[in-house]
Protein backbone atom coordinates (compact mmCIF):
# COMPACT_ATOMS: atom_id res chain seq x y z
CA UNK A 1 0.00 0.00 0.00
CA UNK A 2 1.55 3.29 -1.04
CA UNK A 3 0.80 6.84 -0.04
CA UNK A 4 -1.48 8.74 -2.33
CA UNK A 5 -3.41 11.99 -2.41
CA UNK A 6 -6.66 10.44 -1.14
CA UNK A 7 -5.48 9.03 2.12
CA UNK A 8 -5.27 12.07 4.38
CA UNK A 9 -8.89 12.18 5.55
CA UNK A 10 -11.12 9.34 6.51
CA UNK A 11 -13.94 11.21 4.79
CA UNK A 12 -12.19 11.30 1.40
CA UNK A 13 -13.06 8.65 -1.16
CA UNK A 14 -10.46 7.56 -3.67
CA UNK A 15 -11.48 7.44 -7.34
CA UNK A 16 -11.56 3.67 -7.04
CA UNK A 17 -14.14 3.90 -4.28
CA UNK A 18 -11.83 3.16 -1.36
CA UNK A 19 -11.43 4.81 2.00
CA UNK A 20 -7.70 4.54 2.56
CA UNK A 21 -7.69 5.63 6.19
CA UNK A 22 -10.04 2.76 7.01
CA UNK A 23 -7.78 0.35 5.14
CA UNK A 24 -4.74 1.70 6.99
CA UNK A 25 -6.62 1.07 10.22
CA UNK A 26 -7.07 -2.55 9.19
CA UNK A 27 -3.30 -2.68 8.60
CA UNK A 28 -2.83 -1.79 12.25
CA UNK A 29 -4.75 -4.94 13.14
CA UNK A 30 -2.44 -7.02 11.01
CA UNK A 31 0.58 -5.65 12.85
CA UNK A 32 -0.67 -6.65 16.28
CA UNK A 33 0.25 -10.00 17.80
CA UNK A 34 -1.98 -12.88 16.91
CA UNK A 35 -5.36 -13.70 18.39
CA UNK A 36 -7.44 -16.72 17.46
CA UNK A 37 -10.92 -17.97 18.17
CA UNK A 38 -12.83 -21.15 17.47
CA UNK A 39 -16.18 -22.50 18.48
CA UNK A 40 -18.20 -25.63 18.83
CA UNK A 41 -21.94 -25.87 19.28
CA UNK A 42 -21.64 -25.13 22.99
CA UNK A 43 -18.23 -23.57 23.64
CA UNK A 44 -15.93 -20.91 22.28
CA UNK A 45 -12.21 -20.72 22.92
CA UNK A 46 -10.16 -17.55 22.47
CA UNK A 47 -6.42 -17.53 22.43
CA UNK A 48 -3.70 -14.97 21.92
CA UNK A 49 0.04 -14.69 21.76
CA UNK A 50 1.60 -12.71 24.58
CA UNK A 51 4.04 -10.25 23.15
CA UNK A 52 6.09 -8.13 25.50
CA UNK A 53 7.88 -4.95 24.46
CA UNK A 54 11.13 -6.09 25.94
CA UNK A 55 12.42 -8.80 28.22
CA UNK A 56 12.03 -6.42 31.14
CA UNK A 57 8.37 -5.58 30.59
CA UNK A 58 5.18 -7.55 31.05
CA UNK A 59 3.01 -8.43 28.12
CA UNK A 60 -0.14 -6.55 27.18
CA UNK A 61 -3.52 -7.90 28.15
CA UNK A 62 -5.39 -8.83 24.99
CA UNK A 63 -8.28 -10.90 26.26
CA UNK A 64 -11.05 -9.23 28.22
CA UNK A 65 -14.08 -10.56 29.99
CA UNK A 66 -17.08 -8.51 28.97
CA UNK A 67 -19.75 -10.42 30.89
CA UNK A 68 -20.25 -13.93 32.20
CA UNK A 69 -21.30 -15.02 28.76
CA UNK A 70 -19.15 -12.79 26.52
CA UNK A 71 -15.42 -12.29 26.12
CA UNK A 72 -13.24 -10.57 23.57
CA UNK A 73 -9.72 -11.01 22.19
CA UNK A 74 -8.12 -8.06 20.42
CA UNK A 75 -5.33 -7.41 17.96
CA UNK A 76 -3.96 -4.01 17.01
CA UNK A 77 -3.92 -0.86 19.09
CA UNK A 78 -4.52 -2.31 22.54
CA UNK A 79 -5.53 1.08 23.91
CA UNK A 80 -8.40 1.25 21.42
CA UNK A 81 -9.26 -2.32 22.38
CA UNK A 82 -9.48 -1.45 26.06
CA UNK A 83 -11.81 1.45 25.37
CA UNK A 84 -14.08 -0.74 23.27
CA UNK A 85 -14.06 -3.43 25.96
CA UNK A 86 -15.19 -0.84 28.45
CA UNK A 87 -18.02 0.14 26.10
CA UNK A 88 -19.04 -3.50 25.72
CA UNK A 89 -18.99 -4.08 29.47
CA UNK A 90 -21.12 -1.02 29.96
CA UNK A 91 -23.69 -2.13 27.41
CA UNK A 92 -23.87 -5.60 28.97
CA UNK A 93 -24.27 -4.33 32.47
CA UNK A 94 -26.95 -1.81 31.48
CA UNK A 95 -28.92 -4.49 29.69
CA UNK A 96 -28.61 -6.87 32.63
CA UNK A 97 -29.78 -4.19 35.00
CA UNK A 98 -32.85 -3.34 32.95
CA UNK A 99 -33.86 -6.82 31.85
CA UNK A 100 -32.22 -9.14 34.43
CA UNK A 101 -31.05 -11.11 31.46
CA UNK A 102 -27.76 -11.40 29.52
CA UNK A 103 -27.33 -9.23 26.44
CA UNK A 104 -27.38 -11.48 23.36
CA UNK A 105 -23.92 -11.36 21.82
CA UNK A 106 -25.40 -10.91 18.33
CA UNK A 107 -26.85 -7.57 19.40
CA UNK A 108 -23.66 -6.44 21.11
CA UNK A 109 -21.55 -6.95 18.00
CA UNK A 110 -24.01 -4.94 15.92
CA UNK A 111 -23.80 -2.08 18.40
CA UNK A 112 -20.01 -2.35 18.32
CA UNK A 113 -19.96 -2.35 14.54
CA UNK A 114 -22.23 0.69 14.37
CA UNK A 115 -19.93 2.47 16.80
CA UNK A 116 -16.93 1.70 14.58
CA UNK A 117 -18.80 2.87 11.51
CA UNK A 118 -19.34 6.31 13.01
CA UNK A 119 -15.59 6.80 13.07
CA UNK A 120 -15.39 6.14 9.36
CA UNK A 121 -17.77 8.95 8.55
CA UNK A 122 -16.66 11.88 10.72
CA UNK A 123 -13.87 14.18 9.64
CA UNK A 124 -12.84 14.87 13.24
CA UNK A 125 -12.51 11.22 14.21
CA UNK A 126 -10.29 8.34 13.24
CA UNK A 127 -11.19 4.67 12.91
CA UNK A 128 -10.46 2.35 15.83
CA UNK A 129 -7.22 0.54 15.12
CA UNK A 130 -8.20 -2.75 16.64
CA UNK A 131 -9.82 -5.96 15.47
CA UNK A 132 -11.99 -7.80 17.97
CA UNK A 133 -12.80 -11.46 18.17
CA UNK A 134 -16.00 -11.51 20.20
CA UNK A 135 -17.01 -14.82 21.74
CA UNK A 136 -20.39 -15.16 23.36
CA UNK A 137 -23.60 -17.04 23.93
CA UNK A 138 -27.14 -16.15 23.10
CA UNK A 139 -30.44 -17.96 22.69
CA UNK A 140 -29.28 -19.76 19.57
CA UNK A 141 -26.06 -21.08 21.04
CA UNK A 142 -22.34 -20.28 20.88
CA UNK A 143 -21.09 -17.57 18.52
CA UNK A 144 -17.77 -16.15 17.40
CA UNK A 145 -17.69 -12.80 15.62
CA UNK A 146 -14.94 -10.68 14.16
CA UNK A 147 -15.39 -6.90 14.30
CA UNK A 148 -13.31 -4.79 11.90
CA UNK A 149 -12.24 -1.16 12.18
CA UNK A 150 -14.33 -0.62 9.04
CA UNK A 151 -17.54 -1.28 10.97
CA UNK A 152 -18.11 -4.66 9.36
CA UNK A 153 -18.64 -7.75 11.40
CA UNK A 154 -18.69 -11.39 10.41
CA UNK A 155 -19.57 -14.59 12.16
CA UNK A 156 -17.02 -17.37 12.09
CA UNK A 157 -16.62 -20.98 13.02
CA UNK A 158 -12.95 -20.21 13.62
CA UNK A 159 -10.70 -17.26 12.80
CA UNK A 160 -7.32 -15.72 13.45
CA UNK A 161 -6.15 -12.12 13.31
CA UNK A 162 -2.88 -10.28 13.80
CA UNK A 163 0.63 -11.03 12.65
CA UNK A 164 1.34 -14.46 11.22
CA UNK A 165 -2.35 -15.27 11.58
CA UNK A 166 -2.34 -16.84 8.12
CA UNK A 167 -0.52 -19.86 9.51
CA UNK A 168 -3.18 -20.29 12.17
CA UNK A 169 -5.93 -19.75 9.62
CA UNK A 170 -4.50 -22.47 7.43
CA UNK A 171 -4.49 -24.86 10.35
CA UNK A 172 -8.03 -23.90 11.31
CA UNK A 173 -9.25 -24.28 7.74
CA UNK A 174 -7.99 -27.84 7.75
CA UNK A 175 -9.65 -28.67 11.04
CA UNK A 176 -12.80 -26.56 11.33
CA UNK A 177 -15.22 -29.22 10.17
CA UNK A 178 -14.51 -31.11 13.39
CA UNK A 179 -15.17 -28.17 15.65
CA UNK A 180 -18.98 -28.14 15.82
CA UNK A 181 -19.19 -31.37 17.79
CA UNK A 182 -15.79 -31.23 19.45
CA UNK A 183 -15.54 -31.47 23.22
CA UNK A 184 -14.43 -28.44 25.19
CA UNK A 185 -11.00 -29.89 25.83
CA UNK A 186 -10.42 -30.77 22.20
CA UNK A 187 -11.37 -27.26 21.29
CA UNK A 188 -8.75 -25.87 23.68
CA UNK A 189 -6.15 -28.22 22.21
CA UNK A 190 -7.00 -27.02 18.72
CA UNK A 191 -6.65 -23.44 19.92
CA UNK A 192 -3.19 -24.19 21.29
CA UNK A 193 -2.20 -25.89 18.05
CA UNK A 194 -3.37 -22.89 16.09
CA UNK A 195 -1.38 -20.55 18.32
CA UNK A 196 1.66 -22.73 17.85
CA UNK A 197 1.34 -22.25 14.10
CA UNK A 198 1.72 -18.51 14.53
CA UNK A 199 4.85 -18.92 16.61
CA UNK A 200 6.73 -20.27 13.60
CA UNK A 201 9.10 -22.53 15.45
CA UNK A 202 9.23 -20.80 18.82
CA UNK A 203 8.49 -23.06 21.76
CA UNK A 204 4.87 -23.16 22.76
CA UNK A 205 4.68 -22.54 26.50
CA UNK A 206 1.95 -21.23 28.73
CA UNK A 207 3.95 -18.03 29.31
CA UNK A 208 3.78 -17.22 25.62
CA UNK A 209 0.03 -17.52 25.22
CA UNK A 210 -3.28 -16.83 26.96
CA UNK A 211 -6.36 -19.02 26.57
CA UNK A 212 -9.93 -18.20 27.58
CA UNK A 213 -13.08 -20.31 27.40
CA UNK A 214 -16.80 -19.57 27.50
CA UNK A 215 -19.61 -22.04 27.02
CA UNK A 216 -23.04 -23.23 27.99
CA UNK A 217 -22.84 -23.65 31.75
CA UNK A 218 -19.30 -22.28 31.82
CA UNK A 219 -18.88 -18.53 32.41
CA UNK A 220 -16.15 -16.73 30.53
CA UNK A 221 -12.81 -17.11 32.24
CA UNK A 222 -9.13 -17.08 31.38
CA UNK A 223 -7.40 -20.40 32.00
CA UNK A 224 -4.57 -20.25 34.49
CA UNK A 225 -1.03 -20.82 33.35
CA UNK A 226 -0.76 -24.17 35.13
CA UNK A 227 -3.71 -25.76 33.33
CA UNK A 228 -2.57 -24.38 30.01
CA UNK A 229 0.92 -25.81 30.46
CA UNK A 230 -0.63 -29.17 31.36
CA UNK A 231 -2.63 -29.20 28.18
CA UNK A 232 0.42 -28.20 26.16
CA UNK A 233 2.38 -31.04 27.71
CA UNK A 234 -0.45 -33.46 27.09
CA UNK A 235 -0.80 -32.84 23.41
CA UNK A 236 2.89 -32.41 22.78
CA UNK A 237 3.40 -35.88 24.10
CA UNK A 238 0.74 -37.12 21.73
CA UNK A 239 2.47 -35.14 19.03
CA UNK A 240 5.67 -36.89 20.02
CA UNK A 241 4.05 -40.27 19.59
CA UNK A 242 2.84 -39.28 16.16
CA UNK A 243 6.34 -37.93 15.57
CA UNK A 244 7.95 -41.32 14.80
CA UNK A 245 5.56 -41.68 11.90
CA UNK A 246 6.92 -38.47 10.39
CA UNK A 247 10.43 -38.53 11.82
CA UNK A 248 11.96 -41.62 13.36
CA UNK A 249 14.49 -39.51 15.29
CA UNK A 250 12.02 -37.74 17.57
CA UNK A 251 11.85 -40.65 19.98
CA UNK A 252 12.59 -38.84 23.29
CA UNK A 253 9.37 -39.10 25.34
CA UNK A 254 10.16 -37.07 28.52
CA UNK A 255 11.40 -33.62 27.53
CA UNK A 256 8.29 -32.75 25.59
CA UNK A 257 8.81 -29.00 25.65
CA UNK A 258 12.59 -28.79 25.63
CA UNK A 259 14.91 -30.31 23.09
CA UNK A 260 12.73 -32.22 20.62
CA UNK A 261 11.07 -28.85 20.08
CA UNK A 262 13.00 -27.85 16.94
CA UNK A 263 12.09 -31.17 15.37
CA UNK A 264 8.54 -30.76 16.55
CA UNK A 265 8.53 -27.29 15.05
CA UNK A 266 9.79 -28.72 11.79
CA UNK A 267 7.26 -31.49 11.92
CA UNK A 268 4.56 -28.89 12.49
CA UNK A 269 5.86 -26.97 9.50
CA UNK A 270 5.64 -29.88 7.06
CA UNK A 271 3.31 -31.20 9.58
CA UNK A 272 0.09 -32.60 8.21
CA UNK A 273 0.18 -36.08 9.73
CA UNK A 274 0.89 -35.37 13.45
CA UNK A 275 -1.90 -32.82 13.69
CA UNK A 276 -4.61 -35.05 12.28
CA UNK A 277 -5.34 -36.78 15.57
Amino acid sequence: MFRNQYDTDVTTWSPAGRLFQVEYAMEAVKQGSAAIGLRSRTHIVLGCVNKANSELSSHQKKIFKVDDHIGVAIAGLTADGRVLSRYMRNECINYSFTYESPLPVGRLVVQLADKAQVCTQRSWKRPYGVGLLVAGLDESGAHLYYNCPSGNYFEYQAFAIGSRSQAAKTYLERRFENFTDASRDDLVKDALMAIRETLQGETLESSVCTIAVVGVGEPFHILDQGSVQQMIDAFEIVGEQEGPAAEPDAAAGQDASAEPEPEQGAAAGEGVAPMDI
Partner: protein, 224 residues
Amino acid sequence: MHALHLFIFTRRPRPSSSHVFCWKSDVSSSYGSTLRYKNVERMKPIGKHSLLGASGEISDFQEILRYLDELILYDNMWDDGNSLGPKEVHNYLTRVMYNRRNKFNPLWNSLVLGGVKNGQKYLGTVSMIGVNFEDNHVATGFGNHLARPILRQEWHENLSFEDGVRLLEKCMRVLLYRDRSAINKLQIAKITEEGMTISQPYSLKTYWEFSAFENPTQGAVGSW
Protein backbone atom coordinates in the same frame (compact mmCIF):
# COMPACT_ATOMS: atom_id res chain seq x y z
CA MET B 1 -59.24 5.64 38.74
CA HIS B 2 -60.58 2.28 39.70
CA ALA B 3 -59.45 -0.28 42.18
CA LEU B 4 -60.03 -3.54 40.45
CA HIS B 5 -58.85 -6.90 41.38
CA LEU B 6 -57.10 -9.19 39.05
CA PHE B 7 -55.34 -12.35 39.78
CA ILE B 8 -53.38 -14.94 38.09
CA PHE B 9 -51.84 -18.17 38.93
CA THR B 10 -49.70 -20.74 37.33
CA ARG B 11 -49.74 -24.41 37.04
CA ARG B 12 -48.58 -27.23 34.85
CA PRO B 13 -50.88 -29.78 33.30
CA ARG B 14 -49.95 -33.42 33.59
CA PRO B 15 -48.68 -35.31 31.64
CA SER B 16 -47.47 -32.80 29.10
CA SER B 17 -44.35 -30.89 29.97
CA SER B 18 -45.44 -27.58 28.55
CA HIS B 19 -46.45 -24.95 30.98
CA VAL B 20 -49.82 -23.38 31.00
CA PHE B 21 -50.99 -20.30 32.77
CA CYS B 22 -54.36 -19.17 33.85
CA TRP B 23 -55.42 -15.59 34.47
CA LYS B 24 -58.61 -13.86 35.34
CA SER B 25 -59.76 -10.34 35.58
CA ASP B 26 -63.11 -8.64 35.41
CA VAL B 27 -63.87 -6.12 32.70
CA SER B 28 -65.07 -3.13 34.68
CA SER B 29 -63.59 0.32 35.16
CA SER B 30 -64.83 2.88 37.68
CA TYR B 31 -64.83 6.63 37.75
CA GLY B 32 -64.49 7.37 41.44
CA SER B 33 -67.30 5.43 43.02
CA THR B 34 -69.30 5.23 39.80
CA LEU B 35 -69.03 1.90 38.04
CA ARG B 36 -68.74 3.59 34.69
CA TYR B 37 -67.38 1.21 32.04
CA LYS B 38 -68.34 -2.42 31.83
CA ASN B 39 -66.31 -3.72 28.94
CA VAL B 40 -62.68 -2.82 29.54
CA GLU B 41 -59.99 -5.34 28.61
CA ARG B 42 -57.42 -5.17 31.36
CA MET B 43 -55.26 -8.03 30.08
CA LYS B 44 -53.11 -7.63 26.99
CA PRO B 45 -50.59 -9.87 25.24
CA ILE B 46 -47.05 -8.48 25.03
CA GLY B 47 -44.79 -9.78 22.29
CA LYS B 48 -44.83 -13.50 21.65
CA HIS B 49 -44.39 -14.77 25.16
CA SER B 50 -46.05 -12.57 27.77
CA LEU B 51 -49.33 -11.28 29.08
CA LEU B 52 -49.78 -8.11 31.09
CA GLY B 53 -52.70 -7.44 33.41
CA ALA B 54 -53.30 -4.23 35.31
CA SER B 55 -55.45 -2.65 37.92
CA GLY B 56 -55.50 1.00 38.91
CA GLU B 57 -55.51 3.99 36.58
CA ILE B 58 -56.53 2.79 33.13
CA SER B 59 -54.98 5.74 31.29
CA ASP B 60 -51.63 4.91 32.90
CA PHE B 61 -52.09 1.30 31.83
CA GLN B 62 -52.60 2.51 28.27
CA GLU B 63 -49.42 4.55 28.54
CA ILE B 64 -47.55 1.48 29.73
CA LEU B 65 -48.91 -0.45 26.76
CA ARG B 66 -47.46 2.21 24.48
CA TYR B 67 -44.03 1.91 26.13
CA LEU B 68 -44.16 -1.85 25.75
CA ASP B 69 -45.30 -1.57 22.17
CA GLU B 70 -42.20 0.43 21.36
CA LEU B 71 -40.02 -1.98 23.32
CA ILE B 72 -41.35 -4.98 21.46
CA LEU B 73 -41.08 -3.16 18.15
CA TYR B 74 -37.38 -2.49 18.63
CA ASP B 75 -36.89 -6.02 19.83
CA ASN B 76 -38.48 -7.35 16.65
CA MET B 77 -36.49 -4.97 14.47
CA TRP B 78 -33.28 -6.73 15.47
CA ASP B 79 -34.72 -9.67 13.56
CA ASP B 80 -32.13 -11.97 15.01
CA GLY B 81 -33.81 -14.92 16.66
CA ASN B 82 -33.58 -13.39 20.13
CA SER B 83 -36.71 -12.10 21.81
CA LEU B 84 -37.68 -10.50 25.10
CA GLY B 85 -39.36 -13.01 27.37
CA PRO B 86 -41.67 -12.42 30.34
CA LYS B 87 -38.75 -12.08 32.77
CA GLU B 88 -37.18 -9.32 30.69
CA VAL B 89 -40.47 -7.45 30.26
CA HIS B 90 -41.21 -7.73 33.97
CA ASN B 91 -37.86 -6.26 34.87
CA TYR B 92 -38.22 -3.49 32.32
CA LEU B 93 -41.57 -2.59 33.86
CA THR B 94 -40.05 -2.64 37.33
CA ARG B 95 -37.44 -0.13 36.19
CA VAL B 96 -40.12 2.10 34.67
CA MET B 97 -42.40 2.00 37.72
CA TYR B 98 -39.59 2.54 40.18
CA ASN B 99 -38.14 5.43 38.20
CA ARG B 100 -41.48 7.17 38.04
CA ARG B 101 -41.94 6.67 41.77
CA ASN B 102 -38.58 8.27 42.41
CA LYS B 103 -39.64 11.31 40.43
CA PHE B 104 -42.81 11.57 42.53
CA ASN B 105 -44.90 11.00 39.42
CA PRO B 106 -45.98 7.37 39.59
CA LEU B 107 -47.91 5.35 37.09
CA TRP B 108 -50.84 4.47 39.30
CA ASN B 109 -51.08 0.77 38.50
CA SER B 110 -50.53 -2.64 39.97
CA LEU B 111 -49.22 -4.84 37.21
CA VAL B 112 -49.05 -8.54 36.72
CA LEU B 113 -46.78 -10.01 34.08
CA GLY B 114 -46.68 -13.66 33.18
CA GLY B 115 -45.75 -15.91 30.33
CA VAL B 116 -43.94 -18.94 29.05
CA LYS B 117 -40.71 -18.97 27.07
CA ASN B 118 -38.67 -21.99 26.06
CA GLY B 119 -40.65 -24.09 28.48
CA GLN B 120 -39.87 -21.80 31.39
CA LYS B 121 -42.90 -20.31 33.09
CA TYR B 122 -42.77 -16.94 34.76
CA LEU B 123 -45.19 -14.94 36.87
CA GLY B 124 -44.39 -11.66 38.53
CA THR B 125 -45.93 -8.47 39.77
CA VAL B 126 -44.92 -4.79 40.07
CA SER B 127 -46.63 -2.20 42.16
CA MET B 128 -46.88 1.54 41.54
CA ILE B 129 -43.96 2.15 43.86
CA GLY B 130 -41.76 -0.38 42.12
CA VAL B 131 -42.07 -3.29 44.52
CA ASN B 132 -41.62 -6.40 42.42
CA PHE B 133 -41.50 -10.11 42.99
CA GLU B 134 -42.28 -13.47 41.42
CA ASP B 135 -44.54 -16.12 42.83
CA ASN B 136 -46.73 -19.06 41.88
CA HIS B 137 -49.82 -16.97 42.29
CA VAL B 138 -50.29 -13.22 42.48
CA ALA B 139 -53.11 -10.74 42.75
CA THR B 140 -53.73 -7.03 42.89
CA GLY B 141 -55.83 -4.94 45.23
CA PHE B 142 -58.51 -6.82 47.07
CA GLY B 143 -57.36 -9.99 45.41
CA ASN B 144 -54.38 -10.00 47.75
CA HIS B 145 -56.65 -10.08 50.78
CA LEU B 146 -59.47 -12.29 49.59
CA ALA B 147 -58.08 -14.54 46.89
CA ARG B 148 -54.50 -15.29 47.86
CA PRO B 149 -55.38 -17.05 51.11
CA ILE B 150 -57.55 -19.40 49.06
CA LEU B 151 -54.75 -19.88 46.56
CA ARG B 152 -52.23 -20.55 49.29
CA GLN B 153 -54.41 -23.37 50.55
CA GLU B 154 -55.43 -24.88 47.30
CA TRP B 155 -52.73 -24.18 44.71
CA HIS B 156 -50.22 -26.90 43.95
CA GLU B 157 -47.66 -27.66 41.26
CA ASN B 158 -49.75 -30.15 39.35
CA LEU B 159 -53.03 -28.38 38.88
CA SER B 160 -54.69 -29.15 35.60
CA PHE B 161 -56.00 -26.33 33.50
CA GLU B 162 -59.64 -27.15 34.31
CA ASP B 163 -58.94 -27.33 38.04
CA GLY B 164 -57.07 -24.06 37.75
CA VAL B 165 -60.01 -22.36 36.13
CA ARG B 166 -62.30 -23.71 38.81
CA LEU B 167 -59.98 -22.42 41.53
CA LEU B 168 -59.78 -18.99 39.98
CA GLU B 169 -63.53 -18.85 39.56
CA LYS B 170 -63.88 -19.66 43.23
CA CYS B 171 -61.63 -16.74 44.06
CA MET B 172 -63.39 -14.40 41.65
CA ARG B 173 -66.74 -15.31 43.13
CA VAL B 174 -65.56 -14.30 46.60
CA LEU B 175 -64.32 -11.03 45.19
CA LEU B 176 -67.59 -10.51 43.37
CA TYR B 177 -69.51 -10.90 46.61
CA ARG B 178 -67.25 -8.73 48.69
CA ASP B 179 -65.66 -6.06 46.45
CA ARG B 180 -68.19 -3.37 45.62
CA SER B 181 -66.27 -2.28 42.49
CA ALA B 182 -66.46 -5.74 40.92
CA ILE B 183 -68.97 -6.79 38.32
CA ASN B 184 -70.07 -10.22 37.23
CA LYS B 185 -68.40 -10.13 33.84
CA LEU B 186 -64.94 -11.55 33.57
CA GLN B 187 -62.33 -12.84 31.17
CA ILE B 188 -59.92 -15.67 31.47
CA ALA B 189 -56.60 -15.90 29.68
CA LYS B 190 -54.68 -19.06 28.91
CA ILE B 191 -50.98 -18.92 28.09
CA THR B 192 -48.97 -21.81 26.75
CA GLU B 193 -45.69 -22.19 24.91
CA GLU B 194 -47.63 -22.14 21.67
CA GLY B 195 -49.47 -18.89 22.30
CA MET B 196 -52.20 -17.31 24.32
CA THR B 197 -55.94 -16.86 24.20
CA ILE B 198 -58.14 -14.45 26.07
CA SER B 199 -61.71 -15.59 26.40
CA GLN B 200 -64.80 -13.58 25.71
CA PRO B 201 -66.32 -12.05 28.84
CA TYR B 202 -68.60 -14.39 30.75
CA SER B 203 -70.44 -14.50 34.08
CA LEU B 204 -70.20 -16.63 37.16
CA LYS B 205 -73.20 -18.21 38.81
CA THR B 206 -73.90 -16.46 42.07
CA TYR B 207 -76.15 -17.26 44.99
CA TRP B 208 -77.64 -14.50 47.01
CA GLU B 209 -80.06 -16.50 49.18
CA PHE B 210 -77.55 -17.18 51.97
CA SER B 211 -79.29 -16.64 55.27
CA ALA B 212 -76.42 -14.39 56.34
CA PHE B 213 -77.37 -12.02 53.53
CA GLU B 214 -80.90 -11.63 54.95
CA ASN B 215 -80.98 -9.06 57.70
CA PRO B 216 -77.27 -8.48 57.43
CA THR B 217 -77.32 -5.89 60.17
CA GLN B 218 -79.11 -8.10 62.69
CA GLY B 219 -76.16 -8.46 65.00
CA ALA B 220 -74.66 -5.05 64.31
CA VAL B 221 -75.37 -2.61 67.15
CA GLY B 222 -76.09 0.92 66.01
CA SER B 223 -76.68 -0.03 62.40
CA TRP B 224 -79.92 0.36 60.42
